[in-house]
């Protein structure tokens, strides 16, 4: 086959374009939970061919000079839709993309913001977590979602990390970022929007959708105690309604994790095997949560491995 120079150039230029052209992008449907703070509600589902990975609550905060994205979504397309929703509302530069932790539904939209050359920010452990899991997440999620949603998805590590606390200024609007100890994962970051008293918890808070333990049960309960003392008005959970009253919002999750830990401690003391215990622990909480079947056994497995060392 012979390509003329012009068509070769055209192919080259096409390859430079974003996988889905901007015109085709439907802006994400977002809710303004506080002045200048917008959240896209994640559906309570596993990643599948229909949802483009849009299962987590993701959003953005607009200051007087710039914008911060807080979690970029579950695919390039999910991120591009969030970006389109931002562009509908403001022409200020997107200066920061904050990832609250390593899970693919929170980081896989990062590549959609590369064109804005933002600072990508995450917990001090996020680069290592991305390194350990990134290739596996790409391979697994590529198969779960549609090719059109996944195309262009990349693991983009943070260009700046938070050791324990950092503050960014969007112009008359400070965001305080706290890197917490191992809880939901080993790289959880919270974002406090001081001016509106809004705490973006990432997956340190779930409602309706069963909490998922991919770090330490005990650490998570301790982090929740610390967070509950923060003087904030509302929280934006990683999964659940887009805005919740604080600190009451923590109660269902605290009850579940406490019950799960209690069940596991009892089963461990009885000498049950991990396989047996993980099929029993926490089952009494089944009716209180969505996606219980999908995640409770996983939580019980991880919790068993942790609590067996007590």
């Amino acid at each position: 086959m012979h390509l003329s120079l012009t068509s070769a150039l055209a192919v080259f230029l096409l390859s430079l374009q974003a996988p889905v052209s901007a015109a085709e992008i439907t802006p994400a449907d977002v809710t303004e939970v506080a002045p200048g703070a917008f959240v896209r509600h994640g559906v309570h589902a596993l990643i599948d061919k229909n949802n483009a990975g849009g299962i987590a609550n993701i959003g953005f905060v607009i200051g007087s000079e710039s914008i911060a994205v807080i979690d970029s979504g579950g695919s390039f397309l999910d991120g591009a839709r969030l970006r389109a929703a931002i562009k509908q509302r403001s022409n200020l530069p997107i200066r920061y993309v904050i990832n609250t932790h390593v899970h693919p539904d929170h980081i896989f939209g990062n590549a959609a913001f590369l064109q804005d050359t933002p600072i990508f920010i995450g917990h001090r452990n996020l680069p290592r977590a991305m390194q350990a899991r990134g290739a596996h997440y790409l391979a697994a999620n590529k198969l779960l979602m549609s090719a059109a949603a996944f195309e262009g998805t990349e693991v983009i590590p943070p260009s700046q990390t938070v050791e324990s606390q950092s503050v960014i200024d969007l112009g008359e609007r400070r965001l305080v970022l706290d890197a917490v100890k191992t809880a939901h994962t080993d790289a959880d970051l919270t974002v406090l929007d001081e001016s509106t008293g809004t705490l973006w918890t990432g997956d340190l808070l779930f409602q309706k959708h069963l909490p998922v333990v991919d770090g330490r049960l005990k650490g998570w309960l301790e982090v929740m105690d610390k967070l509950s003392a923060l003087p904030v008005t509302r929280a934006v959970p990683g999964h659940g309604p887009v805005s919740l009253p604080w600190p009451e919002a923590l109660e269902p999750q605290r009850a579940y994790l406490t019950k799960l830990a209690g069940d596991l401690r009892g089963l461990i003391a009885e000498g049950k095997t991990m396989r047996h215990a993980s099929s029993i622990a926490g089952q009494s909480e089944r009716d209180k949560w969505l996606l219980f079947e999908e995640f409770n056994t996983r939580n019980a497995t991880a919790g068993f491995a942790e609590l067996e060392w007590e």
Binding site: H103, P104, H136, A140, K142, D186, K272
Partner: protein, 293 residues
Amino acid sequence: MRALTLTSANMARRFLTSLALFAVASLPAGAAVAAEDIWPELKEDIFGDRPILDGQDWVQLEAPYRAHDAAVVPIDIAALRPQEKDRYIKSITLVIDENPAPVAAVFHLGKSIGLASLSTRVRVNAYSHIRAIAEANDGQLYMVSRFVKASGGCSAPAGKDPDEALASMGRMKLRQFPMSTKPAAPKVSTAVSGGMSELREAQIMIRHPNHSGLQMDQITRYFIPAHYVSDIEVRQGDEVILAVEGAISLSEDPSIRFHYVPNGSSQLNVVIEDTEDQVFTKSWDIQSASSGS
């Protein structure tokens, strides 16, 4: 102690292939859906041309239908007959076909193990057959297998808390179980000769990252070397109950649950080695049969 012998040409090629694929941050489609049957090739790598018979009269392999947490998948191997004097299992090889290093562990069973039932935890990277191949005292191989589905999109076969695992590396715990808690699965009855009523059950756990080494350092672009538990030996007094050759498919903080028939020794002695030649040793007093863990 011996090192796990996984260095045949095919195995090495397979390992290098997975490294290369990790390097471009993607996996073959077969990594997530077991598209092709790779067992014939694996079998040749591990066992050569030795025939393998159906093992369903010897052992039962229990695993969750889905690897709910890809990093910690509990595996129970239940022996269906006791270790008899002239008919017993001398080793069990645990294989996860689709993992980068398919042989998860080889368990060499001592004379005093009593019952060849074992529990451990493994990483499962993808939809995969998991196999337990028992070698009988006459050298005959017997195999049972199960198919395990991969976990969902946000689980990964990586450590939960690498800092903690490294900080407390080498810490060991022994759990001793009163026999009333023994799972009911094995059809071992009191008719067994050799004092089966004395059969005891214990579990050895060690803090260790059991690092797979398949991750690339983002700055240097070199792969971080594997660092894992390579040998676990459990003795009562001087007598070996169990010697395990470990590999990267065992979960972070490796754990082995096993049985033994007391030989009158007062202590269980454990020696664990890793691939960086670190040796961890610890001894525990054997509890009386009635006391718990």
